[in-house]
């Protein structure tokens, strides 16, 4: 069997095939795709066998898993409102539940809610599932939900989603299993917003966060901030199918090599967010599997349209054709990325505009545009920093492409410390880094609306603002999608933000671990993996 495998087949290709399967490719599509890249039919069948097996298998119960993230400190918290890193989210998803959650396609599904209904996207009725119990034995009712949502509005809570929660003008319990939410403005995305990690439901009046009293799949056995958390299977969990694991321990190993070594030596069963550079060590290792989630975080090159040189017509256009996206995807990000088309909605989002093409790498066309702007030969600095992941490498690639057409772009490398407050959003040409957000509305409101707090290129368009507001209140999916496609095209053509690639997040684990899926909230199934994965015998 092995002699028929192409020798350069890596787990990256496995991931690519798996990802194609998840997106609905048939076996025939895949074989055609592989043949196009020179794999023989017989070997192709073998490869597909291994990839499809990982996607479809029957869950088994039992076993315990020790998983490691990459950051943990004394700031670790069991208060979902304050959560700020993976370990917090993993804990929150294991011990608590949200009203809704996002499935692998990004669609909101019901969790504690039985139904979330509205007619005008402004007044919402949330029906709760009955008979859901907290770990303490208390039964979940509408008061718990009202209290859990309202606390985000209180500054003393220190909630990370205070700004998002502010649109909930009225939150009240109608009866023990119904909650009414009235929004200040219509927003059809409420079910998705309620699926954010911070909106976990607590028992009303909870003030002690040294232990977790949630409704979640695991009960909190140990919580030592900055050290470890242990959860044991909740025997009274309201979802009949899960969880499969008997217990889960979550720790953090900040050093990438140490995390990889711990996985290779079998001390941990799962290592989150591996550096693409270390994949050469993990590729082809027996007993190790990798999973790539392209949730949509990206490093982008921002050209302020209100400052020189971006204010000159043609400069931004030239830069869009000067950046070699394929090279960035293949060599800087080692293939663990999707090529970007200069707008923030990533490829795995259901609103992603599949017809919008990324500007082609075309130095001649770029040269022509720079000539038109009168900037050919002018020295232009690009501010890059390790704070924006991979930006220094990307800048170097752009610089070299520029040198070949007589464009003097320089790489101005600045320290990590203070990058976000001193250079990001401020320098005329600089790099930024944006983390995944689940809806186009959040992305566009945060990054491209005229009054957006993080308007990286100072893109202003009244038409854009009006369409964004219209889409927000729409409950008609088809109409919404149409508007979001238009908005993506407007940003891609009009804004000065160049998004060369959506980065992949690589989780590596023992090949006994099954059931890992995509999630729009990021790697580790949007941090909710503990409840859904199982260990094969």
């Amino acid at each position: 069997m092995t002699d028929r495998l192409p020798t350069n087949w890596t787990s990256r290709d496995d991931a690519m095939v798996e990802s194609a399967i998840r997106r609905g490719a048939t076996r025939h599509d895949l074989l055609r795709m592989l043949m196009a890249s020179g794999v023989t039919l017989a070997a192709g069948g073998t490869l597909l066998g291994s990839a499809t097996r990982a996607v479809a298998a029957t869950p088994v119960s039992g076993g315990s898993l020790r998983a490691a993230g990459w950051s943990s400190s004394t700031a670790d918290t069991l208060d979902p409102a304050k959560g700020s890193n993976t370990t917090d989210y993993v804990r929150a998803c294991s011990f608590y539940n949200r009203l809704t959650f996002l499935d692998e396609t990004g669609l909101p599904q019901m969790e504690l809610a039985e139904a979330v209904e509205t007619t005008d996207a402004k007044t919402w009725q949330i029906k709760l599932k009955s008979g859901v119990a907290f770990h303490s034995g208390k039964t979940l009712d509408a008061d718990d939900v009202v209290w859990s949502l309202k606390r985000h509005l209180d500054p003393a809570t220190g909630s990370k989603v205070n700004a998002i929660a502010a649109q909930m003008a009225e939150i009240e319990a109608v009866d023990p299993l119904t909650v009414k939410i009235v929004l200040a403005e219509p927003n059809a995305d409420l079910p998705t917003i309620l699926a954010l990690h911070h909106f976990m439901i607590l028992a009303a009046g909870t003030t002690d966060f040294t232990a977790a009293n949630g409704t979640g799949a695991f009960t909190c056995e140990v919580f030592e901030p900055g050290v470890r958390s242990v959860g044991a299977k909740n025997p009274n969990y309201f979802k009949p199918e899960g969880p499969y694991l008997d217990s889960i321990e979550f720790i953090a190993i900040s050093d990438n090599n140490a995390r990889m070594n711990a996985l290779l030596s079998g001390d941990i069963g799962l290592a989150a967010k591996m550096n693409p550079r270390s994949m050469r060590m993990l590729d082809g290792k027996p007993g190790i599997a990798n999973y790539v989630t392209t949730a949509g975080n990206y490093t982008n090159l921002n050209i302020r349209l209100d400052l020189e040189p971006g204010a000159k017509a043609g400069f931004a256009e030239g830069m869009k054709h000067l950046i070699n996206r394929e090279m960035i995807q293949k060599s800087v990000l080692r293939g663990y990325a999707d090529i970007g088309n200069d707008q923030p909605v990533p490829t795995n989002n259901r609103y992603f505009n599949t017809e919008l093409e990324a500007p082609a790498f075309d130095p001649e066309r770029a040269k022509h545009a720079f000539e038109k702007a009168g900037l050919l030969g002018t020295e232009i600095p690009m501010v890059a920093s390790d704070a924006a992941a991979s930006s220094v490498d990307m800048a170097t690639i752009v610089q070299q492409a520029g040198a070949e057409i007589g464009m003097k772009l320089t790489v101005d490398r600045v320290p990590n410390d203070g990058y976000w407050s001193n250079y990001w959003l401020k320098a005329p040409v600089h790099f930024g880094h944006i983390n995944p957000r689940p809806t186009p509305d959040i992305l566009f409101s945060l990054l491209y609306a005229s009054d957006a707090p993080w308007n990286e290129s100072q893109y202003k368009s009244e038409k854009f603002d009006a369409m964004l507001k219209e889409a927000r209140g729409l409950t008609d999916e088809a109409k919404r999608k149409e508007i979001y496609w238009d908005l993506q095209a407007m940003v891609s053509n009009g804004a000065g933000t160049i998004i060369p690639a959506y980065m992949g997040n690589i989780d590596s684990f023992t090949d006994k671990l099954m059931g890992m899926k995509d999630n729009p909230l990021g790697g580790l199934m949007g941090c909710a993996f503990a409840e859904y994965v199982w260990l094969a015998a």
Partner: protein, 319 residues
Amino acid sequence: MLRSLTFYILIAQRLGIAAVTLVIVSFAVFFATELLPGDVAQVLLGQAATDEAVAGLRQAMGLDQPAIWRFLGWMGGLATGDFGMSYVSNMPVAELIADRLANSLRLAAVTTAISVPLALALGIGAAMWQGSLFDRIVSILTISVISVPEFMVATLAVLVFAVWLGWLPALSYGAETGSIGAMLKAYAMPVITLGFVVSAQMIRMTRAAVIETINTPYVEMALLKGASRRRMVLGHALPNALGPIANAVALSLSYLVGGVIIVETIFNYPGVAKLMVDAVSTRDLPLIQSCAMIFCVSYLLLITIADLTAILSNPRLRR
């Protein structure tokens, strides 16, 4: 009578100086922390730190009074043995530190028990047979060990012993520590890594101190009177080199409490060094101060013991 009085005065002086040093360090750490940009409310809110949100959280956490008053309040509490509450996790600082300090001390104790006798034996041996093949091998090895950074030693050790050979666990914490064998396994790699760093320094300092005394006229006299080389070094030179050696040992060991951040990170060992780094990055004043006090006390304790050893081993001071 007179002799013991001088001795007690010396000890009292040492302790007095130690107490003053603690207060000065505490203030220095406080001012340095105040110079760092941002406070705990801003750090906790991160990107969501709007002005109202920060103000609200500050008020809720009691951070709206001036920092110096909070600091003096904390010092007052410390005088009664209360380390205060961590701003970030809202847990008593004493509770946060207790487990981790025990971990750090355990690691330090094991490392000390192995590296000090080894280092002294090698250092004295190298001095005794100065210029011999043994001396050269020891010198070359110590210099190589000092020049290789410890993260390199640690990572290589993990790669070889945990990944390739599979003899030892890659993580020290959370590994089986039920039996003595399992505990030795779990501690082997961190102790080897730390042992490399601290012993190398001690070996070089010990060798230098002993050689210096060997070159003094009275030791030469002992040699001329027919004492064996071993007797000359152990009986005549070593007692006079004890003071500098004790200081070298103390300096190397003080590193084991607060300076082992790299080993703690690579072996995922929850000790106080990582706690201090966490505390600084979240601007958690009570926790920063408590950690600083612990590092300072352990350092002072070791230096004081070294000074006492020097005093006791010095016949002129004893008299």
